[in-house]
């Protein structure tokens, strides 16, 4: 168990300065913008199928929207008197803390009421012009009011990445008379403060199709959401699911961790990446590296198990990484790490050649929109 889990708010860091807060959100806007392109490259390489990538891409867009929304919320922190301040996790995450998303969700519930009581964007801009021309002052208060108006507007539009994003299910055809489903859902992991996407392939032998089954489907959703904890290994999650639902057979479960985001200016990191980012001396906006980790668990075989006195149920036995014994037990069939970074940090990484980066796939992004992939 890492320290991040037991130290509680020790890693949490509040951004006090307006300029720094804006820089932080600018950085994330860029990063989440690149993520979509990286995902496209992964599809071309055949790591994901079309329906999988579209699920991932949708989640990434939602994540982007969430960051934009938070950006509006904190656009004037440190400048306007009562503006809030962003708290983020600066060790092994670099993302805003879980509570920020809960607060945003809470604000979203009341967004309509707030919007009804606020002057419109046009009215605020009009007032600003009056203050600028009439009083020859910077209309900070109005600017703050406008940022809050935009914040609530974004919340009201919806489609954001929340702390929990309930499962979505797609029918993928029948095989041997069994319905095949593809499920995907996402959570903002509260322990490590990182967004996590789950993808599951499922066989259904129930009488009624799962999405139409009013009994099982809500149970499945509740079960999956309650088990989406970063601390649980995929094997644990899949095993528990298999046992609790006799006629559902999870064949493959994947989990994608987006992050941590490392940045020399914002986060504290140990290990080789620290040196890489420091040596790179990147300009503002290119000083970052984002880790993208994918865990994959596949079913190896099926065994029949007695259930009760007469019944029999199938139980999955999962394939576990044959090399798992050498290091930490991953509880997965395979583990793939990628790192996404701009050109400058990559250059510095290539020069320094630190240990442990050989089997990490590197995606190098540039402002022109090109994504290069290196082994």
């Amino acid at each position: 168990m890492s320290d991040g889990k037991t130290d509680l708010t020790l890693d949490h860091f509040t951004l006090e300065d307006t300029r720094v807060t804006r820089r932080y959100f600018d950085k994330f806007e860029k990063i989440t913008g690149y993520l979509g392109k990286v995902a496209a490259v992964m599809e071309v390489e055949g790591r994901y199928q079309r329906h999988e990538i579209s699920a991932i891409a949708r989640t990434l867009v939602a994540l982007n929207l969430t960051f934009r929304t938070l950006g509006y919320k904190y656009h004037f922190s440190g400048r306007a008197a009562h503006a809030g301040k962003l708290t983020f996790d600066r060790i092994e995450s670099g993302f805003p803390v879980y509570a920020e998303l809960l607060e945003a969700a809470n604000d979203a519930q009341q967004a309509d009421r707030h919007l009804a009581n606020m002057p419109t964007v046009e009215a605020l801009k009009d007032q600003m012009v009056r203050v600028i021309v009439g009083d020859q002052e910077i209309p900070t208060k109005l600017q703050y009011a406008l940022s809050q108006r935009l914040y609530y507007e974004e919340l009201a539009k919806g489609g954001l990445f929340w702390s929990r994003n309930d499962p979505d299910i797609q029918w993928r055809g029948d095989r041997d008379g069994r319905r095949q489903y593809f499920l995907h859902w996402a959570v903002y992991d509260s322990q490590i403060n990182l967004p996590t996407i789950y993808l599951m392939e499922l066989e259904d032998t129930g009488k009624v199709g799962l999405p139409k089954d009013e009994r099982r489907w809500p149970e499945v959703m509740a079960h999956l959401m309650a088990q989406s904890v970063g601390g649980l290994k995929l094997l644990t999650i899949a095993k528990g699911f298999d046992e609790d639902f006799d006629d559902l057979h999870p064949k493959r479960l994947r989990r994608i961790h987006i992050g941590p985001m490392y940045s020399h200016a914002f986060t504290q990191q140990t290990g080789p990446l620290r040196e890489v980012l420091e040596k790179a001396k990147s300009p503002v906006g290119e000083d970052w590296a984002l880790v993208w980790t994918e865990e994959d668990l596949r079913s190896d075989r099926v065994e029949e198990v007695k259930s009760g006195w007469f019944g029999k149920v199938e139980r999955e036995i999962y394939a576990i990484d044959p090399f798992a014994g050498r290091g930490a037990d991953t509880g997965a069939t395979a583990l793939a790490r990628s790192i996404i970074m701009p050109e400058r940090p990559f250059q510095s990484l290539a020069e320094l050649k630190p240990d442990g980066f050989d089997d990490v796939r590197k995606f190098v992004v540039s402002p022109t929109g090109r994504v290069l992939s290196y082994k």
Binding site: M1, H82, V229, T236
Partner: protein, 359 residues
């Protein structure tokens, strides 16, 4: 103790009342200022603008909000129940445990897998958010009033300066007139010619009239300066009180925010580590064994369940140690708590003794 919703509503009314009182006082002070500008006597208005009303009102409000913040403790006590449930077996599980240990254990595992406190966390955030909005609204009103009173006061200060200047000039003028009048009186005393004497006497009358006018002016200016002084005194007291109140609000907001944030992290960490510890071992061992027979698996599960329980207890202890001694957390909390205690000693005492409603 009244339930949270009722208490929130009560606090909202009290905040509204306090805000009304505060604005009323400021506007009364401002009205006096306006009247003064038009030259009316405003002594009564100033005397009427008493702070006691406002103070009583805001004290009641702050007490209520402080209680509300501590009331959140009672709300969060609900979490404890969840934790206990996760650690222990339900009645049904105990009953089944008499016949089959393995079955009881697997039932508990299943319950554990679906346990989630996310909704409760969201509820906690939303409740503390309601209180925070209340406090921030109050703080905004206080700041707004403070700015009004400040600008008003600085205007008055300049006005008083000019009034005092004018007063001094009048006094100097009066002093200047004195020798002239004496001189003239002496001249009249020695003057023999009737015509010249009449001329001198009318000059004296003129001077006397001017003298009287100046003396009267002095009185008026003196009175004005005194009124202004009293007004300034009142304004300053009001400003002090506003500042003090806004400090109180900030302490409350600070305490609330630190508490909530830490609670979210703490409860979340505790639930998830309970879940993780409980499940991980079991799932892995069983996958290794495969599911050869039902019996074997269940035996293994029962055995592992027992082992995990003791390990979990150890881990919880270590976890709690860690949590309690996380240095910075403690420091920050202590700071917020101390500030809170300093201001709300009495309420805290009452809360601890559970002695509401007693004098």
């Amino acid at each position: 103790m009244a339930d949270f919703e009722t208490q929130i509503r009560e606090s909202q009314t009290q905040v509204a009342n306090a805000q009304a009182k505060i604005s009323e006082l400021t506007s009364r002070i401002e009205a006096a200022r306006a009247k003064m500008a038009s030259g009316t006597d405003v002594t009564i208005e100033i005397e009427n603008a008493t702070l006691e009303d406002v103070h009583a009102q805001t004290d009641a409000m702050n007490a209520n909000i402080a209680e509300l913040i501590m009331g959140l403790d009672d709300v969060t006590a609900g979490f404890q129940q969840d934790f206990d449930e996760m650690r222990s077996k339900t009645g049904m599980e105990k009953l089944i445990g008499i016949f089959s240990k393995g079955k009881a254990e697997s039932m508990r595992q299943e319950r554990m897998r679906t346990a989630s406190i996310d909704d409760k966390l969201q509820d906690l955030i939303s409740k503390s958010n309601v209180i925070q909005k209340l406090l921030e609204g109050q703080l905004a009103v206080l700041d707004e009033q403070k700015i009004k009173v400040e600008s008003n006061l600085s205007e008055t200060l300049t006005e008083r300066e000019t009034t005092v200047g004018a007063l001094e000039k009048t006094r100097a003028d009066v002093l200047d007139l004195d020798p002239k009048i004496i001189d003239l009186e002496n001249k009249i005393a020695v003057e023999q010619d009737a015509a010249a004497r009449t001329a001198l006497e009318s000059e004296l009358a003129e001077l006397n009239a001017r003298y009287n006018e100046l003396v009267q002016q002095e009185q008026v200016q003196l009175a004005k300066s005194q009124t202004l002084e009293r007004y300034i005194e009142k304004g300053k007291t009001w400003l002090d009180s506003l500042q003090n109140q806004s400090a109180t609000q900030m302490v409350l907001i600070n305490k609330l925010m630190t508490d909530t944030r830490q609670r979210v992290v703490l409860y979340d960490a505790l639930t998830k580590s309970l879940k993780t510890a409980q499940q991980q071992d079991v799932a892995h061992r069983i996958n290794e064994i495969g599911v050869q027979t039902d019996k074997e698996a269940q035996q293994a599960m029962a055995a592992i369940g027992a082992a995990t329980n003791s390990r979990m207890a150890d881990m919880l202890e270590a976890h709690e140690d860690h949590m309690v001694f996380a240095r910075k957390v403690l420091e920050e909390k202590a700071k917020a708590d101390e500030r809170f205690m300093r201001r709300f000693q009495k309420i805290v005492e009452k809360h601890d003794k559970n002695a509401y409603g007693q004098p």
